[in-house]
C-alpha cells in the first residue's frame, strides 16, 4: 500500500500518505471498519516524522474517510455503497487530472494520449 512515498516530490508527505490510504479504502484493500496502522508503526515503517502521519490521519478524519477512537486507534469509516462509488469516481478524476498535468509537462498531446489510452485499454481488456 505504501510503496515508495517520495519525499522529493513537491506534494507534501502527509498528502501522499493520505492519498494512498484513500486509494486503499476505495479499492477496499482497507476494509470498512478496519484498523489503520498505528502512528508509531507507520512512522517507523515509512521512516517519516510521526507528526506527518498524525497530520495525514487528521486530514482523512476531517474528510470523513476515517475516524479515530480514543485509545483504540484509527479506523476506516463504514461508508455506504454509494459513498464508496463516489469516492472511487473522485479518485478516478484525480488520476486523470494527474495524467493530464504530467502530459502537459512532457509535451504529450491530446492525440498522443487518446491513442495511448486506446492501446492500453485494448491490451487490458484482451
Amino acid at each position: 500500500m505504501f510503496r515508495q512515498i517520495d519525499p522529493r516530490s513537491p506534494i507534501p508527505l502527509y498528502v501522499q500518505i493520505a492519498d494512498r490510504i484513500r486509494i486503499a479504502v476505495a479499492t477496499t484493500e482497507l476494509a470498512p471498519g478496519g484498523a489503520l496502522p498505528s502512528v508509531r508503526q507507520l512512522a517507523s515503517q515509512l521512516r517519516v516524522n510521526p507528526a506527518t502521519v498524525v497530520q495525514a490521519y487528521r486530514e482523512l478524519e476531517e474528510a470523513g474517510v476515517v475516524e479515530s477512537r480514543q485509545g483504540a486507534g484509527t479506523f476506516v469509516r463504514e461508508l455506504a455503497e454509494p459513498k464508496r462509488d463516489a469516492e472511487r469516481q473522485r479518485e478516478a478524476r484525480r488520476l486523470v487530472r494527474h495524467l493530464l498535468q504530467n502530459a502537459a509537462a512532457l509535451g504529450v498531446t491530446r492525440q498522443d494520449l487518446e491513442h495511448a489510452l486506446k492501446v492500453e485499454l485494448k491490451v487490458r481488456l484482451a
Binding site: 519525499p7 513537491p10 508509531r40 512512522a43 517507523s44 515503517q45 521512516r47 516524522n49
Partner: protein, 297 residues
C-alpha cells in the same frame, strides 16, 4: 513555545578564523530539527559547543532550559549524544558496554535496550573493536534511545552506513519519537534522509545560520522561475532572490520564500512568469548555498 536548544549570538574561533559567527538557533521542543550544511561548515563544532565540549568566545547557549556549561551534568542526564566518530571503549563487549552506559543514567531502560538489540541483530558477546561500521552505528543508536532522553543530538548518525542499516537505525529512531515527545537535533549531509523525517531545517554555511524554517515552508518556498521580460534592475522583492541567470531570451530566477500571490510582483514589473518549478530539498539546499557564497547582481 519552549525551546529544547537555544543559542544567542554564538561565536567560536580556533585559530585565526571565526568558525562560528553570530549563531542564533532555536530548536522547538518535540521537533525533529535537521541541521544541514556542507562539509566544513561547522556542524560538528556547533554540536560540540551545544554540549559544552568547547567553550564559545561569545554568546549564550541553553539546552533543555538549562545553561551551558554551568549545568552540563544535568543536561547530559537527559540527552542522548551520538558523535561523528566512534567513542566507546573498544575492549568492552556489547553487553559490557550497555551495562557501563546504563550505570550513568537513572532512567535507562534495560528491557528496551534488549528489545532494540534483538531487533538490530547485535551479538552480545562481541567486542566493540570487532563490530562492523553498521553494527557500531546501531549500537550508538541503541544506547541513546534506551536512555529514554528528552533530547537527542545526533551528529551524522547514518554516515557511512549501508542503506539497509540506515533504514533500521532511522526506523528505531522514529519509533522512539512516536512514543513520546523527545526533541531530535540531527545533523547530516544526507539531505533526502532529513527530508522525510525532519519538520524543521536549519542550514549552516561557513559558520553562519543561513536559514531556519519549518521543513514544508523551506521546501515550498524555494522555486525556480522562468521569467520573460525580466527587469534589469531589481529593487525590493517580496521574496528572497537567490540566483538570477540568463537563458536565451528569458531569465531563470531562483527564489526563496515564494508564495503564489507574488506573481503579481512580476506583472507589476512588466515581466511574465512562464513557469514555476518546485525544487526538492537537495536542489533548494544547493541553490541556497550557491547564492550565499556569490553575490547576486
Amino acid at each position: 513555545m519552549s525551546h529544547a536548544i537555544e543559542t544567542h549570538d554564538l561565536g567560536y574561533r580556533a585559530g585565526k578564523h571565526f568558525e562560528i559567527r553570530d549563531l542564533t538557533l532555536r530548536v522547538r521542543e518535540g521537533s525533529i530539527y535537521g541541521f544541514l550544511g556542507p562539509n566544513g561548515s561547522g556542524k560538528t563544532t556547533t554540536i560540540r559547543l551545544l554540549l559544552g565540549m568547547l567553550r564559545p568566545i561569545k554568546g549564550a547557549i541553553s539546552v533543555l532550559g538549562r545553561k551551558v556549561p554551568e549545568e552540563m551534568a544535568r543536561i547530559m542526564a537527559q540527552t542522548g549524544y551520538v558523535p561523528e566518530r566512534p567513542h566507546l571503549y573498544p575492549y568492552l563487549t556489547l553487553e559490557q558496554a550497555i551495562r557501563f552506559h546504563a550505570a550513568f543514567y537513572d532512567g535507562f531502560d534495560l528491557p528496551y535496550a534488549g528489545e532494540l538489540r534483538r531487533g538490530f541483530g547485535l551479538p552480545l558477546a562481541q567486542k566493540l573493536s570487532h563490530l562492523s561500521k553498521g553494527e557500531m552505528g546501531k549500537l550508538h543508536m541503541l544506547l541513546v534511545l534506551a536512555q529514554r532522553p528528552e533530547l537527542l543530538v545526533l551528529d551524522e548518525p547514518t554516515d557511512g552506513l549501508d542503506p539497509v542499516v540506515r533504514r533500521d537505525v532511522l526506523s528505531a529512531l522514529l519509533d522512539f519519537c512516536s512514543q513520546g515527545s523527545a526533541t531530535v537535533f540531527i545533523s547530516s549531509h544526507l539531505v533526502h534522509e532529513l527530508e522525510r523525517i525532519c519538520d524543521w531545517v536549519g542550514v549552516l554555511d561557513d559558520g553562519k545560520l543561513v536559514v531556519e524554517l519549518p521543513m514544508q515552508s523551506f521546501k515550498n518556498g524555494i522555486k525556480r522561475i522562468r521569467v520573460a521580460h525580466a527587469p534589469s534592475l531589481v529593487g525590493d522583492t517580496p521574496f528572497v532572490l537567490l540566483q538570477r541567470e540568463t537563458a536565451g531570451l528569458e531569465q531563470v530566477w531562483v527564489v526563496r520564500g515564494w508564495q503564489p500571490p507574488m506573481v503579481q510582483w512580476f506583472e507589476g514589473a512588466g515581466a511574465a512568469v512562464r513557469e514555476i518549478v518546485d525544487l526538492d530539498l537537495e536542489e533548494g539546499f544547493v541553490e541556497l548555498l550557491r547564492s550565499s557564497r556569490t553575490p547576486t547582481s
